[in-house]
Amino acid sequence: MEERGRVAGELERLIDGGTPHKSAVASQVPMPPPRNPRSAIHAKSPITKELGEEDVGMEEVSVVIDGRQPSWLNGVELLEDAKWNKHVLPTGCKGIDILLGGGLREGQLTEIVGPSSSGKTQVCLHSALGVADVHLGVVLFLDTCNSFSPHRIAHMVNSQSDTLVKEGKEGRLKRIMSSILCHSLFDIFELLDVLHQLECKLKHQVKSSGNRIRLLIVDSISSLITPILGGKNSQGRLMMITTGILLKKIANEYNLSVLVTNHMVGGEGGSLKPALGESWKNIPHVRLSLSRDQGSNVCNVSILKHTIIASGRTAKFVIDN
């Protein structure tokens, strides 16, 4: 609504700021909200053909409107974008990578759901390590339950580095750990603020620099949303969906992958179902369900929802100590 108001205001300013008699014409010809901006503006209505200055005003207006809306892409351009810009980031857990056909895809929001202590945080730490290791870029870890453990990541790095000769263990550890940024937040408003700051920063960043953010992890998003969801007003659901849409927008425009974790609540008959309800179900592109038997290291992962792969496929992976 605000956007439309702003555009309408700028339209008025441009139309009024031109020749004085233009405002009379503009009020007689109400412009419909353009569905396809280029075609609506460039289609000349019979009245505007007669006035020469109107074309100049229309060009300025079309520039303003095009700046507000993203440009339209056809299928070929989308395929090119998917091939060249949206790469696949390996998580480092072999079972998950095989199940997902490579790993986490850039431009997509992946959600991991599971009961307590099923390995969700371990998968997040593994993914952060995997992306930081192969010089892919920077990982941003937004932590809401104080579960980011640098000690655990260091342990994982040291247990993996057996074949490297060039870089010393210390150097590799420092390089990997310096590419992982961690920020603690305890409030949905802080999360939205951080995401807006991130958007600003990404807009002004050089595209091909090595410090590009590749993976954004929010662990866990459900602990931020549960305190506001439900109750008499639907403000909580509004914030949840706003956050989801913002995460997907950042993922798509700046070619990074977003990984969030969710917990489970009791459903009918004692079975567990993912938290956050029906409205959240449609927001992530990919949903994975994790479970772990008491006392074992082996986790089962199954696909609840995916854009390409059939749901219901399962795999196992091991959390090594």
Binding site: P115, S116, S117, T121, Q122, L125, V138, L140, F141, T144, C145, N146, S147, F148, S149, P150, H151, R152, I153, A154, H155, L173, I176, M177, S178, S179, I180, L181, C182, H183, S184, F186, D187, D193, V194, H196, Q197, L198, C200, K201, H204, N211, I213, S220, S222, S223, L224, T226, P227, L229, G230, G231, H263, M264, V265, G266, G270, L272, G295, N321
Partner: protein, 294 residues
């Protein structure tokens, strides 16, 4: 917030994001961080040195297993002076059930001090101020005690803690005994309960991170009917089980008390036996019979 002002706020901090830290810096900080010892060496070993600061640890178990004893022991052990390897901090004890016994706390403080004087006598010779600090009464004076009688008081106290922690900078542990008591009865609206508990756990997480202290929450058990059989699980449901960073379950194994790490991002699952003696929580030695407390 306009775009220009948002961009200006990015100048500080790491440059990527205001307030973010790299994992490398956090690792160096973590390695210098001291842990709060529980008094039992095996339990400390499976905990990676003791209870971690900046984390919320939940301790659950059947009644009579020793949760309150562990809470009191931690409130005493956090005050071990820095010269003897402890944190030298103060404790906040939030009591919802009325199970805190001052005489027992005095006994545990005496036990802790006598063990300190025995074990670290050589270090204490260099610090003449220590004998004055190492008195049971001064240990008791450093435990701030709040008695809660209803869930509204509990919520209010946790909201007020922020101001309290700003004034008292030395607090290094908050023990809540028990977090579940007032939320189990008289709560008709379960959805409201989930929201309130979720908000409370976020606040406690924030305190742990911001003031670098440990938060220990003691929880009760309840039975749950799953797939035709009854299980013992921690109270307050599935949502609450995600509200802590670490979880420790205390249970009986025959006649011995054991502790089991149920959830942790950095520790592997392990069990350790422990003993509750007149002096507090101590190592379990295999040839000792079970010693009942008091």
């Amino acid at each position: 917030m306009s775009e220009t002002s948002r961009f200006r706020s990015l100048e500080g901090g790491h440059g990527a994001l205001k307030g973010a830290q790299t994992a490398w810096d956090m690792l160096s900080e973590e390695q210098m961080q001291k842990h709060i010892t529980t008094g039992c060496e095996e339990l400390d070993a499976i905990l990676g040195g003791g209870i971690h600061c900046k984390e919320v640890t939940e301790v659950g178990g059947v009644p009579g297993i020793g949760k309150t004893q562990l809470g009191i022991q931690l409130a005493v052990n956090v005050q071990i002076p820095v010269e003897c390897g402890g944190l030298g901090g103060k404790a906040i004890y939030i009591d919802t059930e009325g199970s805190f016994m001052v005489e027992r706390a005095h006994q545990i403080a005496e036990g802790c001090i006598s063990d300190l004087l025995d074990n670290t006598a050589h270090r204490l010779k260099d610090f003449p101020a220590c004998p004055e600090i190492l008195q049971p009464n001064s240990f008791l004076a450093n435990i701030f005690y709040f008695r809660i009688c209803s869930y509204t008081e509990q919520i209010a106290t946790i909201n007020y803690l922020e101001k309290f922690l700003e004034e008292q900078k030395d607090v290094k542990i908050i023990v809540v005994d028990s977090i579940t008591f007032h939320f189990r009865q008289d709560f008709d609206d379960l959805a409201l309960r989930t929201r309130v508990l979720g908000g409370m756990s976020l606040k406690l997480m924030r305190f742990a991170k911001k003031y670098s202290l440990a938060v220990v929450l003691l929880n009760q058990v309840t039975t749950k009917f799953v797939e035709g059989s009854f299980h013992l699980t921690l109270a307050l449901g599935d949502t609450w089980s995600h509200a802590c960073t670490n979880r420790i379950i205390l249970y009986w194994n025959g006649n011995d008390r054991h502790a089991y790490i149920d959830k942790s991002p950095s520790l592997r699952s392990a069990t350790a036996p422990f003993l509750i003696t007149g002096k507090g929580i101590r190592n379990a030695t295999s040839h000792c019979k079970r010693v009942r407390m008091m």
